[in-house]
């Protein structure tokens, strides 16, 4: 495992930022840590990088306790965050020159190639660059030393589609040699290339699994029926039940076709039609958030 946490928790005053987080990021994966704002994603990443001390539990990153990671480990980890303050008074080339001595694996050719690919104005200061360009510079300054693990915190927020595509393409090219952990609340970006996904809400991990399993697991079920649509006792994996005259709609979080149909027929009579739809990651995210809100 590139990252392994068990019972990780953190409290800021009266706010439980993270509670009993167990996360396992396998080598070579593109692991998406998703959740709404304030879910605890950034806190989790900062604990992993030893920027914030954990309140409880433990985290291992590249096989080392996160509280003891040193230059050796950090030289193999890339960290790109919208919150990271870059030395903005430097020009892009000065920034690369400044970063180079810290990383034994730094490749000038790689940096030059990234600069060419991203079309940097290398003689301009980071402050004078657009937000997208700054993020590209940060990513280039990270990829130039070929990190084993790339940790990204909301890297695409506020960027235009073209820049996002460029960045995603660039990251995708480096996998699976580079494991990627990406924290975001913007799901459309990662749906296409994440191999694993974990969902954090209010500091609690609701699930963490492979993307394929997840998308197979969630289905939206819609029934048209002539009989009674009054509420029944529902299985735990059904959520966000909505009723209208003659129509019932819900999300099944553990969809198994035969079992699901049997459960439906056991509860309602006069079923005319059952429609089963696959959900996008975005829809799953919304369904989970709505369910969380309803059950709170």
């Amino acid at each position: 495992m590139m990252i392994d946490t068990s019972g990780l928790s953190k409290r800021f005053g009266s706010t439980q930022a993270l509670a009993d987080l167990n996360l396992h990021v396998p080598e070579g994966s593109v692991f998406a840590l998703i959740g709404p704002n304030g879910a605890g994603k950034t806190t989790a990443l900062r604990i992993l990088l030893n920027i914030v001390r954990p309140g409880g539990g433990r985290a291992e990153i590249l096989g080392t306790d996160s509280r003891h990671i040193g230059p050796k480990e950090l030289a193999r980890i890339g960290y790109v965050s919208e919150n990271r303050e870059l030395p903005e008074w430097m020009t892009v080339s000065e920034y690369f020159n400044y970063c180079r001595p810290f990383y034994p694996e730094w490749q000038d050719s790689e940096a030059a190639e990234l600069a060419r690919m991203f079309d940097f104005p290398v003689d301009r200061t980071l402050r004078a660059l657009s937000r997208g360009m700054r993020m590209k510079a940060a990513l280039a300054g990270t990829l130039a030393y070929r990190p084993k693990l790339l940790i990204m915190d909301e890297p695409f927020s506020g960027l235009d589609v073209v820049v996002r595509e460029q960045l995603l393409e660039c990251i995708a090219e480096r996998t699976p040699e580079c494991t990627v952990l990406i924290a975001t609340h913007d799901l459309s970006d990662i749906e296409s290339f994440a191999t694993h996904v974990a969902y954090l809400s209010d500091g609690h991990l609701l699930f963490a699994e492979e993307m394929e399993t997840l998308t197979k697991r969630f289905r939206e079920i819609e029934m048209v029926l002539s009989g009674d649509t009054s509420p029944q006792i529902l299985p735990d994996n059904w959520m966000n039940l909505k009723q209208a005259p003659g129509v019932i709609r819900f999300t099944d979080a553990d969809y198994q076709p035969a079992k699901c149909e049997a459960e439906i027929r056991q509860r309602w009579s006069g079923i005319k039609d059952i429609t089963v739809r696959a959900l996008t990651l975005r829809s799953i995210f919304i369904a989970l958030a709505a369910n969380r809100k309803a059950t709170r």
């Binding site: 040193g70 965050s81 001595p101 990383y103």
Partner: protein, 514 residues
């Protein structure tokens, strides 16, 4: 170390304008200090002695703030480097941009004034240590617990403001403008306060760069500021004097007792306004041996056991809020314990038989090797330094004078100076440091590697044989005189308590101003 140098170069590249400003200020100060004639600096040099430390504070703070410690968003905290490399880089920056140039500046000043810098290296290192513990170390520590330059400025101003507000005696606020009457006692107090600050700064920097514990570090800093503030404001003078005396205890026995000398009164003008002036005559002290005496603490006890504590008068500043303040001065016939007392208190106890008790500190000197300085010459005086005698010619209004200016990288000891008329052998006595001119600009030159003092003899066209003219030197002597200089190094110090019983203050009254 390689990475520390890399960070220093980065900081230097970003802060080059600030570095140039401090270097220009330092170069200007170096020039002024090198060509100065006279023991007092001119306005530019006086102000530079304040501006440059402020510029150094700013530069040291900015260098830390290039990579701020508090917070979670800084670029450097996810870089693969040990935190000790960062603090090493900051220390290296301060060393290269502040301390090294200052060391070179001091060496240049010493060379220009005729002293070999190598010979006085310990003195130069002592100045470095002073700048380190008073300026750079606290600045680094303060900058390490704030997030940006604005916070740094606000905190620094708050600390200075707190120091000024709590400084009731003006020791701190007036320091740049006055010469301390009791330098070594004030230095002991300052050394204790600065040591507290320096120690706390080291603890705080260690906490911050080892584990980034900003909240705890801020508490440590705040506690240190409060402790050092309390030390400077509330530590009794007797305590610091005892420490100073313990540092250099008197080796010889001193048959020194304070006795009343009845029948002598002081009849000159009042020495302070705003209260009742009293001068209690005692046996001459400073003429009893090679010693100088300062009063430290004084208390008056009335017959019914009421005790009135008096504050020492720092320099010539009045103590409005004290019920009594005191000082000591001499006349040809006696020494006086002088009091300025609030009228209300005086009315209550003025005619009662009171006990006056207190502590004084005696500084013992040994007789040194005398040196002669003919008119208009520069001479090397052993155990003192280089002394220059010169005539300050008068104008239509001013009558001019003869001055002896001495400078040395070592502290200038108590030094009597005798001006001798080469023709008549008539003598006039003065001493180094007894002269002072009142100017409106800062006069303290803490950054100078040199100590400077002056003895001044006023020339006059008037008749100097009249009573009261013994301090004035006839104009014609300016062309044929020599000076006898006798540095008297300190051999030790002692704090001596005294008690004068059955004193009636109204018998020693000088005036009762309305």
């Amino acid at each position: 170390m390689r990475l520390a140098v890399h960070i220093v170069l980065k900081d230097a590249r970003h802060l080059w304008k600030e570095i140039v400003v401090t270097w220009v200020l330092l170069a200007w100060l170096t020039y002024l200090d090198s060509v100065r004639s006279g023991y007092q600096p001119d306005a530019a040099e006086g102000w530079l002695n304040i501006l440059l430390p402020l510029a150094w504070c700013w530069l040291a703070g900015l260098c830390v703030l290039q990579d701020p410690v508090p917070g979670e968003r800084q670029f450097w905290i996810a870089l693969p480097l040990r935190h000790r490399s960062v603090i090493a880089a900051k220390a290296l920056f301060v060393l290269a941009m502040i301390h090294l140039p200052y060391l070179v500046s001091n060496a240049v000043v010493l060379s220009a004034r005729g002293f070999n810098p190598i010979e006085y290296l310990p003195r130069l290192l002592e100045k470095q240590l002073l700048v380190l513990i008073a300026i750079t170390l606290p600045s680094l520590a303060l900058a390490s617990v704030v997030q940006n330059a604005m916070q740094f400025i606000v905190c620094a101003i708050a600390i200075f403001a707190a120091a000024l507000v709590s400084d009731k005696t003006g020791t701190f606020s007036m320091a740049p403008f006055t010469f301390s009457a009791r330098p070594w006692m004030d230095e002991t107090r300052l050394a204790i306060a600065l040591s507290v600050l320096a120690l706390a700064s080291l603890v705080l920097l260690n906490l911050q760069y080892r584990s980034r514990r900003t909240l705890l570090s801020r508490y440590v800093g705040l506690a240190a500021i409060m402790v050092s503030g309390l030390v400077s404001v509330w530590l009794p003078l007797v305590f610091t004097a005892k420490l100073a005396a313990a540092w250099r205890p008197a080796t010889q026995s001193y048959p020194l007792t304070i006795r009343l000398k009845p029948g002598v009164s002081y009849s000159s003008a009042p020495f302070a306004s705003g209260g009742v002036n009293i001068a209690i005559p005692v046996e001459p002290l400073s003429r009893a041996a090679n010693l100088s005496v300062e009063l430290l603490a004084l208390e008056i006890e009335t017959p019914d056991g009421r005790r009135i504590k008096a504050n020492p008068a720092p320099g010539n500043r009045a103590q409005r809020e004290s019920i009594a303040s005191f000082d000591r001065f001499s006349s040809p016939h006696a020494d006086f314990v002088a009091l300025v007392m609030e009228r209300g208190i005086y009315k209550e106890i003025g005619n009662l038989p009171v006990t006056v008790r207190g502590d004084l500190i005696a500084e013992f000197h040994r007789e040194g090797m005398k040196a002669n300085a003919p008119a208009e010459t520069r001479v090397d005086v052993p155990t003192l330094g280089l002394c220059t005698s010169s005539n300050a010619f008068g104008s239509l209004i001013r009558e001019g004078g003869i001055r002896l200016e001495c400078e040395s990288p070592r502290e200038i000891p108590h030094t009597p100076v005798i001006l001798i008329d080469s023709v008549t052998t008539r003598e006039w006595k003065s001493g180094l440091g007894q002269a002072s001119a009142f100017v409106s600009h800062p006069t303290n030159t803490l950054l100078s590697p040199l100590f400077r003092k002056e003895a001044y003899f006023q020339l006059t066209w008037r008749d100097t044989t009249r009573p009261g003219s013994q301090w004035q030197v006839p104009q014609e002597v300016a062309s044929h005189y020599r000076m006898e200089i006798e540095p008297q190094p300190v051999t030790g110090r002692a704090v001596i308590p005294f008690e004068l019983r059955d004193i009636r203050l109204n018998e020693s009254l000088i005036n009762h101003s309305k």
